[in-house]
Amino acid sequence: MLLDVLQGAEAGSFIIFRDSASCPGRRLLKSYVHAALKREEEVHVLEFEASEEELPTGLDVHCAQRLHIHGGFADPLGWIKRSSFTVHQFTSRSISTLISSQPQSKSALLVIDSLSWLVRHLDPVVICKRLQEIRRGGAVKTIIGLLHADLHQISVVGSVCHLASTVISVEPRTNGQWVLAKTTKRTKSGKVLQEEELFSIQENLTVTVHSKVSHTTQTQPETDSVEADPAANLTFNLHLSEMEREAKEKVALPFVFSQEKKSALLNAGQGAGRILYEPDANDDFDQEDPDEDLDV
């Protein structure tokens, strides 16, 4: 599916490349741009993070002509009044004037490198609104953007990604040279397709998919769920045989009040203790308060 996305998308789609500090995704973005240029599309880049010289390296002259970089790299906030495009100029109107300033026949591809710059300086609501305006505006065929997901709150990343028709998250793989790409694609019918692929990018920026990570292995019944018997390898016997169980049930427990005990208590036999009391002459026995001497 990653290759399908890189092949080019239908009009009005919005693709987000999500990366993190441990696995930069700019090279994948670059390979998309190069592929688009080779398809003879007009590419407009809002460049905030890499220098203007970086992107066209490795492109032939013919392709480079269709690449228009609107550099905000040197001065993205307008501190030194040298920028051709600042973060705060990100409105649908200024984008369409930028794009229409270039004579071309068909609608263009807009690359935002990176969305993180916008998210850090503008309100997420404003960004979502303006992105939506640009998509509907018609001047732009496709928008693609790089988003450093680890720089922002999850909620903000989530709401920007909700706008996108395709989200490609790149994640590092410890084994080997390959990178894992998780592609989530929403088709117009509303169906959501997901796929994980291992890929690498060649020197000439072509993407090779090596293997698909299948989900079927994950949904199989997990072996861990089979309960282990804790009494399996014990040095003593925890189990009872049938005979042992019978013998155990026959034993009377010491405090069970059986018939024998009851009769023994009721018919006090000889030798049982009795209390004899002969009142003393001095005894001042009060009938009404027999416990008077207890000093309670």
Partner: protein, 277 residues
Amino acid sequence: MFTDLNSILNTSPDNFKQGEFVLILDRKADASFLVHHFLSFYLRAGCKVCFLGLVQSFSHYSAVSQRLGVSLAQAKEKGQLVFLEGLKDCLGILLPGGTKPERPTLDFFSPQCSDLRGLFEFVLSSLSPAGGAGGQGDSGPESLRPPVLIVDDLSVLLSLGVSAGAVLDFAHYCKAHVCHELKGSAVVLVRCEEEEEEEEEGDEQGAEMLLKGLTHQCTLALQVQGLPTGYCRDIHGQVDIWWRGESQQQNHRKVFQYKVQDKGASFFARGTSSAVL
């Protein structure tokens, strides 16, 4: 200047890569020995250096550099080194009777200023070939070497009330101008504190965001950590060196252990300390 580290990074004062943005970060260890390394390295290479010293006084850096064989006072006199004594200047602004600076370098203290534009303008004016606070008149061979910015350290700005986003903007502008336009290099130090319970949630998020953002920007990251097994007399910690290129081949990392010595530091592969073998 540590020759061990130079050979690991494959550089020397005569031949070093231009346009590098080096991030030094430390966790449970002190990475300032690397700041001293880069300071003496670039001074020896003949580069014009702008040093933003926010955590120590000039005499501290001067004393350490003396041991490494570089005289900061001389470099400053020659105009090769521009030193911002942040520690002293901050005090001047904060104390009621302090001397107020004329330039807006430390403007971020005032409540109506939330960005580090003043500080960036200071860097720009000290490193640009035309102006320069040092007033370097002669156009000798030294002025041909690329300029270098060293910051010790950026996390202090967070403690002084600057937001992580503003620090990232400052770092971006420094990268754009020093590394790309002037083809120089930048070295910044960031300290990451271990998560502590008492610390405020917002503070910690800011520090983490600064760290991630700078990692995205840098071309070389040196992460200094204490040993996971605890303090050791013969191995002071480990450095995770991360070359951050775009392609998978350029993007690789290696871990070395180090020991800081009286005049320098030695770096060796894990488990090959002379105390072990």
